[in-house]
């Protein structure tokens, strides 16, 4: 099947990266899409210099929300700088997932990002 469920998404869905909790998390946030039951928990370890040292996440959801959380976690660890991370947009999420996200699935694609920003606003 072309389009949405391409290899990269399926790989992240079946082998999601950075799944778990952080016992010494600096910040934590949780969010859910009540309309479908997708939920995600974000754990961040943020240094004094506002650098994300580690991100872990847990969740239950569709292939898109799972792949999105997994891809986002890699991106966040790669970028590090929280000032840059807060500027990740919904559009960026859509691009990360291959650009084929319809308005029906955008909430799946951005759930992890919403929770992440919630977490960052608390740090």
């Amino acid at each position: 099947m072309s389009g949405l469920y391409h290899d990269i998404i399926l790989d992240h869905y079946k082998n999601p990266r950075n799944v778990g909790e952080l016992s010494d998390a600096t910040v934590f946030a949780k969010d859910e899409n009540t309309s479908c039951g997708d939920e995600v928990e974000i754990y961040l370890e943020v240094s004094n210099k506002k650098q994300v040292k580690m991100m872990k996440w847990k969740g239950r959801g569709c292939a898109i929300s799972t792949a999105a959380a997994s891809m986002l976690s890699e991106k966040v660890i790669e970028i590090g700088d929280t000032e840059k991370i807060v500027n990740i947009t919904d559009h960026d999420m859509s691009e990360m997932l291959g650009g084929d996200i319809s308005s029906a699935r955008i909430k799946c694609a951005t759930l992890a990002l919403v929770a992440l920003k919630k977490a960052l606003s608390r740090s």
Partner: protein, 420 residues
């Protein structure tokens, strides 16, 4: 035997392609497609008869008013209401229930009173009662249903108290498909009324019943009955609320303003008789006329035949879903026996023992042109009780065929292919 091929020709949208595949529309519980006859009735109204209704002094007003009241008669007749004045045109079932909560509930529900519904209800038959109860210091009680969505009539009897003012239940569940035995329920409610006096009253959410089976309100024994036009091949802006005549006579208005008054002075206003009292402002005449056309369309087919057709499709779908037993497994919710359910099937899908999320199932089906719905179907309490985040639901209508079911099953097999 309905003439499905003939019926299909009446629905222009069935010619559409979705992602290059012919449309298989299995989301009829959400809304139904419209036959040419309904579309033409709308166009005809706007092209040749459009005017505001009531108290006009010109030909077009006369025509529009006649068409509006004829539509009311047609709809009343279809649902077995003896008097057209007992039919209030509303936007949809949700508005109908809100109207009862507002116009009847606010003046009849008080502190300590009880409203008895079920845990299987659609949100439109839950939230208005929660709001009313909160405002009045009353309580909403939830009847338990079994795994097939069936109400225990002993449970109903046990839960009725001298504080129960209203029982509100669905005729057919939009999630589990369970058909409630309304006549039997009404008998239990009436027995309680003999003890209590005037209460409890019985409200029925008929949104998933009227389009799919014969409904004869006169023989049901309920006091309020609500349904949606758009779910019965009619336009989206109209629905019906039937209220027992004596109750409706005594109800205060819902929306107020023009059209529903007798007299307005700076000192105050008086309200019109039925049916005008519940028709504030310019009514959606066009859609009422469209609904009448839909009712006539269904009448020509015959509701017994409609039910028989959808039952066959449901039986076929249940049979085919059950034999999917490979790496892909399907868990079906609601009554085991097709004749105990309306024409819909909600289910979850598992691949190698792990659930495939409803969204993904629905999206993959959509890629094959098969339109279903996934989510909580406005029945969150029941989904929470069953421990479900989301389910996928296929629901049938007059134009669906066995071929549609085959396409649906084939598309499901694709889920295995995608997530292998």
């Amino acid at each position: 035997m309905i003439d499905v091929e003939g019926i299909r020709k009446d629905f222009p949208i069935l010619k559409r392609k979705i992602h290059g595949k012919p449309l298989v529309y299995l989301d009829n519980a959400a809304t139904t497609q419209k036959p040419r006859q309904v579309i033409d009735a709308l166009v005809d109204f706007y092209e040749r008869h459009n005017a505001n209704v009531h108290r006009g002094s010109h030909t077009l007003t006369d025509e529009a008013t006649t068409m509006y009241e004829d539509a009311r008669k047609t709809v009343a007749n279809f649902v077995g209401a003896s008097d057209p004045k007992e039919i209030v045109f509303v936007r949809n079932t949700t508005e109908a229930i809100n109207l009862v909560a507002y116009s009847w509930g606010r003046t009849h529900i008080g502190k300590g009173d009880e409203i008895l519904i079920s845990e299987l209800e659609h949100h439109s038959n839950i939230v208005p009662w929660q709001m009313l109860a909160k405002e009045k210091g009353a309580t909403v009680k939830y009847l338990r249903v079994d795994s097939e969505g069936k109400l225990d009539s002993t449970t109903l009897r046990d839960q009725l108290t001298n504080k129960t003012k209203l029982v509100a239940l669905s005729n057919v569940s939009n999630f589990l498909g369970t058909i409630n035995p309304i006549e039997k329920i009404a008998e239990v409610v009436k027995k309680q009324r003999k003890v209590n006096g005037l209460y409890p009253l019985l409200l029925v959410d008929g949104a998933q019943a009227v389009p799919h089976m014969s409904v004869d309100i006169a023989s049901l024994g309920c006091d309020f009955y609500a349904f949606s036009g758009h779910k019965m091949y009619g336009p989206m802006g109209v629905g019906g609320l039937w209220v027992r005549r004596d109750i409706l006579e005594s109800m205060s208005p819902f929306l107020t303003g023009g059209g529903m008054i007798l007299k307005v002075t700076m000192e105050g206003s008086s309200f019109a008789d039925l049916p005008d009292r519940f028709d504030a402002g310019t009514p959606d005449v066009a859609d009422a006329v469209g609904l009448a056309a839909a009712v006539k369309y269904l009448g020509r087919i015959g509701m017994e035949k409609v039910r028989k057709h959808e039952l066959e499709l449901t039986e076929y779908a249940l049979k085919k879903l059950k034999v999917i037993d490979h790496k892909l497994k399907v868990k079906i919710f609601g009554p085991e026996r097709a004749e105990e359910r309306g024409g819909l099937v909600a289910f979850t899908v598992y691949l190698n023992g792990q659930e495939v999320h409803g969204h993904d199932v629905a999206q993959i089906l959509d890629s094959e042109g098969v339109e279903v719905r996934s989510g909580h179907h406005c029945t969150m309490p029941m989904h929470i009780k069953l421990g479900l985040a989301a389910t996928t639901r296929a629901s049938f209508g007059v134009y669906n065929t066995k071929d549609d079911v085959d396409r649906f099953i084939d598309a499901l097999a694709k889920v295995e292919h995608v997530f292998r």
